[in-house]
Amino acid sequence: MTAAPRPAASLPLGGVDLSCRFGPLTLPHPVMTASGCFAYGQKFAPFMDLRQLAGLSTKGISPRPRPGNPLPRICETAAGMLNSIGLENVGAEAFLSEKLPFLADLGVSVWVNFFGEDADEYVQCARMLDAGHQRGIDVLEMNISCPNIKKGGIEFGTVPEVAHALTKRCVEATRIPIVVKLSPNAADLPAMAQAVADAGAMGVSLINTITGMAIDVRTRRPRLATTYGGLSGAAIKPIALRMIHQVHRAVPELPICGMGGVGSGEDALELLMAGASCVQVGTANFARPGGALEIRDELRALMAELGIARVAEVIGCVEPLPPEPAWAPAPPDAEASR
């Protein structure tokens, strides 16, 4: 316990300004909800005032509707869960006509998560969703990291050159800014981030779920029909923090939307300090449908307690611990102190 607590005068709640920027976007606070964990928003209306969110990311959209994977699709693990939903969604067309109007009306930042089964489908999807430009869609969050579809997915997410080419084509296909959601299964995240930044991405989202597995020893079967699924929740927060920090250090000017195990205001602040410009709440929405706004309130209270007036102050602010005094066989002033 060598780090002395940083002395800081606490602030009144009102002294905290939660507003923040994500590239060109201005957000009222840094707490959004994550793709696949918030459906298309509507179903949370009984539980929270959706207009108070900073923004939300929709379930991943593909050019055509998809039915999703066989069941079982989810299973709980230690401090986390696995899912293999299979990117079930209504398809771009139905999204634009049936879901977007509701979202556009909310006045929050709407990020449409999207993907395709191959590169052409990605581009096609970006082109289709371009119809939402200035009609409610603020960001296209390009998911190159889903472990749950057969073709594409993983490969786009692990090879920088492939990701670069794909991003470039999608950026050219739409007027809406693109944020690329990177795969935590990639060996070199900074290279991936640089590659998509060079291709014109406005920012990156990280992390998506990490590929995992669970087995029912009684039936000798995997607990998910697809054998593998994506691990999310508190268990992965340390990995998310590391990846956000690595990318922020390597490509400091690239805004990062951080996610992975955020379940409290303190978790959110950790991600911001690692280098995220805003955060998304995923799995925690299931247990606490109003959780994202509670997390915003906790963040405000914690910032007040710690004397942090503005979000921008702390983005990526974490610094190495001071070095220990140099080792020597005897204390420097061994004689003096006797």
Binding site: G36, C37, F38, A39, K43, F44, P46, F47, K59, P67, G68, N69, P70, L71, P72, R73, I74, C75, E76, A78, A79, G80, M81, N83, I85, E88, G233, A234, G263, T283, A284, N285, F286, A287, R288, P289, G290
Partner: protein, 273 residues
């Protein structure tokens, strides 16, 4: 359909052990509004204690009863980590509750409708118990009958309620210690045969372990008896957003959702082998 769901805190006012490892957990929810007013048999709640960072998702439990003093109860048995904790929840512990959830529920019995055969097993009793309670309260006790199976006599709980409501009960135990020896399908097929012999219209409403539901479904389909199944699928959210609780179905789309389209499904619709 009951009111739209909300999330609220509720206090454990009683956690009564029955025999066979079952517990009736009674919770005191808010009074105004009472979130579970008008709850329908088959609807459920998601429960979670202040369990920290493990056991991240809430657990689904059918509502056993809800009264107008804001109290409601569920029937529990220790299955895994979550249910084990709930079985040991002490008085005054606060739980987080989401509900009422579930849109597809059991139809109420009617004076001239088919006799409803309520087929229950294990922790699948609550929706049928509530169905029976409501039937009795509506003066329709004779329109429902409970067929109830368990491993042994100990595995059959809350039977005195059914007696008190004047509802006919047919029992089966695997070890023969009470009622028919065998699965609940034994008294069920006998009852269906009797109905068919005398031209009585019957339908099946069933809830219980999946192997039991499969057998009930097969029987219902084979005998041409309209069959409604209350399913249990693994759930993360309970309100239609995680898409984890998919139920394979025949119909315009390959999957329906246990939490929002169900938990009650027409047996014909369910895509089971």
């Amino acid at each position: 359909m009951a009111t739209s769901p909300s999330q609220f805190r509720a206090r454990v006012v009683d956690n009564r052990p029955l025999h066979g490892g079952y517990f009736v957990l009674t919770l005191q929810g808010p009074m105004a509004p009472r979130p579970l007013d008008g709850v329908i048999p088959g609807q459920f709640v998601m429960l979670r204690g202040d369990w920290g960072r493990d056991l991240i998702n809430p657990r689904a439990f059918s509502v056993l009863d809800a009264s107008d003093d804001g109290r409601f109860s569920v029937l529990l048995k220790a299955y895994g980590r979550g249910t084990t904790r709930l079985c040991h929840a002490p008085e005054d512990e606060m739980l987080t509750v989401t509900g009422p959830l579930g849109r597809g529920t059991f139809d109420a019995p009617t004076v001239d409708g088919p006799t409803q055969l309520l087929v229950a097993g294990g922790v699948g009793l609550p929706p049928l118990h509530l169905q029976a309670r409501r039937a009795a309260a509506a003066g329709l006790a004779s329109r429902v009958e409970l067929l109830y199976g368990g491993r042994d006599a100990d595995d059959l709980v809350l039977l005195s309620d059914l007696d008190a409501w004047g509802i006919a009960v047919h029992l089966a135990t695997e070890d023969g210690s009470r009622g028919d020896r065998g699965f609940v399908t034994v008294p069920l097929s006998r009852r269906i045969e009797r109905a068919q012999a005398r031209g009585e219209a019957v339908c099946i409403l069933s809830c219980g372990p999946t192997p039991m539901l499969r057998a009930v479904r097969a029987l219902g389909l084979a005998q041409g008896v309209p069959t409604a199944l209350c399913l249990e699928e693994e759930m993360a959210c309970g309100f239609g957003v995680c898409l984890g609780c998919a139920v394979p179905v025949y119909g315009p789309k390959p999957y329906a959702y246990c939490c929002t389209d169900g938990p009650v499904f027409d047996a014909r619709e369910v895509r089971w082998s």
